[in-house]
Symmetry: C2
Subunit: 541 residues, 2 copies
């Protein structure tokens, strides 16, 4: 179904050209011009059949891929699982980066850049770690015409790249804590089907790596970082997340425990690991020989004066952009939360027959400048080759939170028409206090998107206490909170059994930090053994 | 020779502990503490023999590598030709990036992120291009345990990654100009000896790729970008460069012509390609099928209504950081031009026996806060385990432009002692107008570093008009300006002959945009044929 863009808005100003042309969007990210050449128009019409043709609740996967592409977030690439990130996606990433950098700078984290490549001797040093990553590691074996004597790996994550140097740099107490972060690309050659942003063979992320003298300090940092990740999702991306701990099965390969923020996509009924903060304990420290001269051991005249450091690693990736798109997008396309919107307000002139269009254009430019001066990311769309109805649809598709329309009637009344992307609400605002009003509306949209997403997630959440209810909830694509005995084998069995019975396995998503009360006699929903905790279960990305 | 850090400065305040300990620097980037334990001190002393032990004019290569490491710019990595960029290097890169981004945003360039990998069918499409890059391309042939059916290349540069999509995205006039930029890592598996920042197998850069309807627009951009590169070097990094055009031999593989900014390192007598802006003409457009419906051709009712686009690509890399280090560094270590210095002013307390050290520390913190509030990147060094003389040497080694010392005498007079890194000049400044004075001094240091570098380069530049003078100048490590017939074969011969006769070949560095007068009867210094232009010649990195 082709997207209808014969917006009623276009008719508001009368005489607007918006409904005089067959205004349509084509498949590629570049909109086709409406220029009255009939042969070209035929071509355009053929192309438009490929716009956002799918509804979010009809075929979620197809809808998502179309929204990403039509919203100009990315394009597909000729190597499977690799994507081209386009300007809006790169901008969102830049905004998240700036926020995160400011937060971790306060914590004393410094930025490094470690190499893309890792030698097999380092990569393979930690056995659990390499077992976790080796199936996905891309190997460079040739340079030019020469076979390399030893193949080298492209980093899937940088623990094994970085820790040999921690071992070199850390000597004594005063070298601790060591806190580093880098913003890099990593490669995981997944063989399951790729999904834009969500599961790609190359992705961008930050990875933090820290070392402490004590477990107490390290543990504190795990959750400090988790809180920043939670803020990125909830405050910037307006996506509600659950803070929790991964099960033994699902924790980071080689680590002690993994703290996670988990999101849930109601449309697909799948959980998604949104960002993780790993306690590595002393495991990598032991293997890579990262120790420091411990003053306390010295005072106690212990034989060995050196102690192993306590390490963490933590990361958030461009996957976060995909979670945002999945959460807020609708049948018209992207919906950006204002705080991360590359363009927060678009100003569109609404021409009227017989009225000097330049006066309208000037007013649009003036409004844009006022907004920009107030620190609002604004853009005006004065392309004279597109009808305004077409532009409305174009910017809706691109997810811009607020649209301002200015036509002769608005000029006469010294007002603007403003339209919210999230709910379509319209208002006429006097130009006098525009800035205040716009800021207020952007704030409201931000909150309202979060609230809606929270309601959606909550509506999908179901508490169950036995297997039948669990299976019923799973069939309804729920996010399931269930009492669990916390046994690795039981999780494995649940995964297998759900896979056999329904075709798609379910597993633990996390054990939430906020635990509901657990009665002493509560039993595990799956094993019938005494339950130790409430955990979230479901299918996941 | 171990670096002496028993600074006379340390004695100024009397009673300072600076000369009571054997203050030394160790080889690794982390300074060793002075803690009075004799067994540890022995260990330290052994290590210190590896500090900056080489003078810049004694063994330039060794000096450079030591300054990079001791200045905490990078560390060596276990894969040859790959380096770990440490916080000061990453910060400089961030400053250059912010400057460049702001400049190209004004030009309408948008940021993308294209994949790291390129398929051979794309990489090998342009024959000259692949000939230029193929010897250095790293190939991924295996993922996990699976051999890939087709090996994929790691981008050495992204023309062949990006242009298939230009072909898809560009349809008509209105899609032009298309201007994109990305900040990425690239890999060139060079087999010649790596040099930190200057020649590494992986490096960071920005690469811009643009397409225009007309050659005029494209040409203009080539030089607009070149001017920004020149500004990055001359204004930010305080490194003088020559704007010029590369010879046919030296231009970008597959391009039409290459504009370049060239720097010269007097200490090694080598030129260095500092950043390049390539006109690609219509060559890639033809091969990748990048064309647009040309309105003019339509009006003229030409048979073919489509025209090929005119393309440019341009890049500057982390090599720029190396050029800066080579240009300004001295026997004490790094020297940062203030505009790119990660720390512009370091404030160091100078304790005095019997005087409450906390009062001094507080004063240092207060001064630091005042500087920070004024937008000056300031740091205080209140580590109580290091003597102040040791700290002076440490921050000198790290290249901080200005050092402020505060001791009891300064407190009494409500002044600070300020010391310039570049020339060691000292002054006592009243705290009242400190900000103004510091800003003024930072500006002067910036200018003075550029002036000194310019004098150095000019002193090395020599005009020659015949072969004997050329060879003489070459033996003196000069940057040689010579009249040339502009024939490819002659350049090749010069390269071969200088290589045979001196062991290191010389080639053209560039033909400067600013041409000295060329008399009609001037002959080529090498071939004796009529000269067409003045070009710079020399050895190069």
């Amino acid at each position: 179904m082709a997207m209808s863009v014969q917006s009623t808005e276009g008719k508001r100003a009368l005489g607007s050209t918006s409904d005089e042309n067959s205004v349509v969007l084509k498949s590629s990210s570049t909109p086709v011009r409406v220029n009255g050449q009939s042969s070209l128009q035929k071509e355009i019409k053929k192309e438009t059949r490929l716009g956002i043709s799918t509804k979010k609740d009809e075929d979620f996967g197809k809808w998502y891929s179309e929204v990403c592409r039509c919203g100009d977030m990315l394009d597909y690439y000729d190597i499977k699982g690799c994507y081209i990130l386009k300007p809006p996606a790169v901008k969102v990433w830049g905004i998240l980066r700036a926020f995160f950098d400011a937060e971790i700078e306060k914590m004393g984290v410094e930025e490094y850049y470690f190499p893309l490549f890792v030698s097999p001797s380092c990569l393979e040093k930690e056995k659990d770690h390499i077992k976790g990553f080796s199936p996905e590691v891309a190997w460079v074996t040739r340079a030019g015409e020469s076979e390399l004597s030893i193949p080298i790996a492209v980093r899937p994550t940088s623990e094994t790249v970085i820790y040999p140097y921690f071992s070199k740099w850390i000597r004594g107490h005063r070298d601790l804590p060591l806190k580093i972060n880098q913003w890099v690309n990593v490669v995981r050659w997944e063989f399951s089907d790729p999904i834009p942003f969500i599961r790609s063979r190359e992705f961008l992320w930050q990875e933090g790596h820290t070392a402490f003298a004590t477990k107490t300090e390290a543990d504190k940092e795990v959750f400090d970082i988790l809180q920043i990740y939670s803020d990125i999702y909830e405050k910037l991306l307006a996506v509600p997340v659950i803070k929790g701990i991964k099960s033994e099965n699902e924790k980071f390969a080689g680590g002690l425990y993994t703290a996670t923020v988990e999101a849930f996509i109601p449309s697909s009924g799948r959980g998604i690991q949104a960002a993780t903060s790993h306690s590595l304990g002393q495991n990598f420290a032991e293997i890579f020989g990262i120790s420091f001269e411990n003053k306390e051991r010295k005072l106690e005249k212990k034989e060995t004066k050196r102690s192993l450091v306590w390490q963490n690693s933590w990361g958030i990736s461009t996957r976060s952009i995909g979670v945002m798109v999945m959460t807020h997008g609708d049948d018209k396309g992207l919906v950006f939360p204002p705080l991360v919107a590359p363009v927060q307000v678009v100003v569109i002139p609404v021409p009227f027959n017989g009225f000097d269009v330049n006066i309208i254009y000037e007013a649009c430019e003036a409004v844009k400048s006022t907004l920009l001066a107030a620190g609002i990311r604004a853009k005006s769309d004065n392309r004279d080759t597109y009808a305004c109805g077409w532009k409305y649809a174009d910017w809706e598709q691109k997810g811009v939170p607020l649209r301002i329309e200015i036509g002769p009637r608005d000029l006469a009344k010294n007002q603007v028409r403003i339209v919210r992307r999230d709910n379509g609400a319209k208002a006429d605002l006097p130009r006098g206090d525009l800035i205040e009003q716009v800021k207020d509306m952007l704030g409201k949209i931000q909150q309202s998107l979060f609230d809606a997403a929270k309601r959606g997630k909550d509506a999908c959440t179901q508490k169950v206490e036995n297997w039948d209810d669990f299976m019923e909830a799973l069939s309804q694509k729920k996010l399931i909170l269930a009492p669990w005995c916390d046994e690795v084998e039981v999780e494995k069995l649940v995964k297998e059994r759900t896979k056999t019975e329904t075709g798609a396995g379910a597993k633990t998503l996390c054990t939430p930090l906020e635990q509901p009360d657990l009665n002493e006699d509560t039993l595990c929903f799956a094993s019938g053994k005494p339950a130790k905790k409430w955990s979230y279960w479901g299918r996941s990305y």
